[in-house]
């Protein structure tokens, strides 16, 4: 079963950078797995910890938050705040038994289309390696 396992992954992306990078990956026709679906928010500072938990509760196998490069947040430091929340959510996922490594924070600028694709591949591979979420077994 794990051999053909296709993980479901949610990516919470900020409007300014990560979403732009995702679009650029498209413009550059960079290939990456279709597992990742984006939820766009104005800033990763809007990523409520409950959204991350809810994604897993709903059955996500993995999730990540992608914001601007550190120091370049369009809302000054929303991405730094998001980073701290992601760290807490990872800890909670560990406690719960789902595993914090299924969740990650990434930073990229709007011109980093290749990086977006790389992250999508990287997360898909990582989660594929971890197998389906314990909630979906």
């Amino acid at each position: 079963m794990t051999e053909h396992f296709e993980p479901e992954i949610v990516a919470f992306c900020c409007h300014y950078c990560a979403y732009g990078a995702a679009d650029l990956a498209g413009s550059m026709r960079l290939n990456y797995p279709a597992n990742v679906k984006i939820v766009k928010l104005p800033c990763t500072g809007k990523v409520d910890i409950i959204y991350l938990l809810k994604a897993f509760e709903d059955g996500a196998d993995g999730a990540y938050v992608a914001g601007c490069l550190e120091g370049n947040c369009h809302f000054i430091d929303g991405n730094i705040k998001a980073k701290r929340r992601v760290a807490r959510a990872k800890k909670l996922l560990d406690e719960i038994g789902i595993g914090g490594e299924r969740l990650e924070m990434f930073n990229m600028s709007a011109s980093m289309g290749p990086r977006f694709a790389e992250v999508a591949r990287e997360m898909t591979e990582r989660v594929r390696g971890l197998g389906p979420s314990p909630l979906r077994k």
Binding site: I49, I50, L53, L92, E95, I96, G97, L135
Partner: protein
């Protein structure tokens, strides 16, 4: 205010694992402000518990609510209808709130979701410090407004111990030596002479050693005055 922190999810899970329907109640006062047990944290706890229990093949029903103050009967009573329908209550309030619920709903088991830690304040957002032990006999006037009971790791009254170094306590290099703070502040105030007298052993009779402490105000407490 009262500072508290969330218990590990597994510990909470173990407490409520046997129940089908659990009411999770937050408190809008101190524990909201210290971000341990308000409306948002109730949501987080509930979500985590649902997942943790689902891994164990359990699908309990978790009802989320939050009341203004769990330490007041009037607010606690608003929960009555909801409580009737559940098997247990998980309180994300301080120990006072947990006990208030337990007392008001004698037939329902009540469990704490938080560890109540101390009375204190935020030094910075997200960093809280204890600065009162509630000993019932305040001596802050002598110590430049800095409490040696709460802020010296040994609660010393006559000056720093030999473990004080670089203004830090022997317990941790991160912790200020309470006595250095007192000394510094009184020096600033030019009141160091206040420290010269030997302070006699503290009268601890006002502390909690006599069991549950009570306090009443004659002008408002009817039963005592009648």
């Amino acid at each position: 205010m009262i500072i508290a922190e969330q218990k590990p999810i597994q510990e909470i899970k173990a407490m409520i694992a046997g129940y089908q329907k659990v009411l999770i109640v937050g408190c809008d006062t101190c524990v909201t402000i210290c971000m341990a047990g308000g409306r948002k944290e109730v949501g987080i706890i509930a979500s985590c518990l649902r997942m943790a229990l689902q891994i164990d093949r359990k699908k309990p029903q978790l009802i989320e609510d939050c009341i203004q103050r769990q330490c007041e009967w009037e607010f606690v009573d608003t929960l009555k209808d909801k409580v009737d329908g559940v098997d247990a209550i998980l309180s994300s309030a301080c120990g006072v709130g947990v006990q208030a619920l337990a007392e008001r709903f004698p037939n329902k088991p009540v469990y704490p979701a938080l560890n109540t830690t101390f009375m204190g304040m935020p030094n910075e957002h997200g960093l809280w410090v204890e600065n009162c032990r509630g000993c019932g006999n305040c001596g802050l006037g002598r110590f430049g407004g800095i409490c040696p009971i709460a802020r010296c790791s040994k609660g010393l009254l006559n000056g720093p111990c030999g473990g004080s170094q670089n203004g830090k306590c022997e317990v941790s290099k991160e912790m200020d030596c309470g006595w250095q703070l007192i000394y510094g502040r009184l020096k600033t105030l030019n009141q160091l002479d206040q420290l010269e007298d030997i302070l006699l052993p503290k009268d601890w009779s006002t502390d909690r050693d006599k069991g549950q402490r009570k306090m009443f105000r004659g002008d408002v407490y009817y039963e005592q005055t009648v």
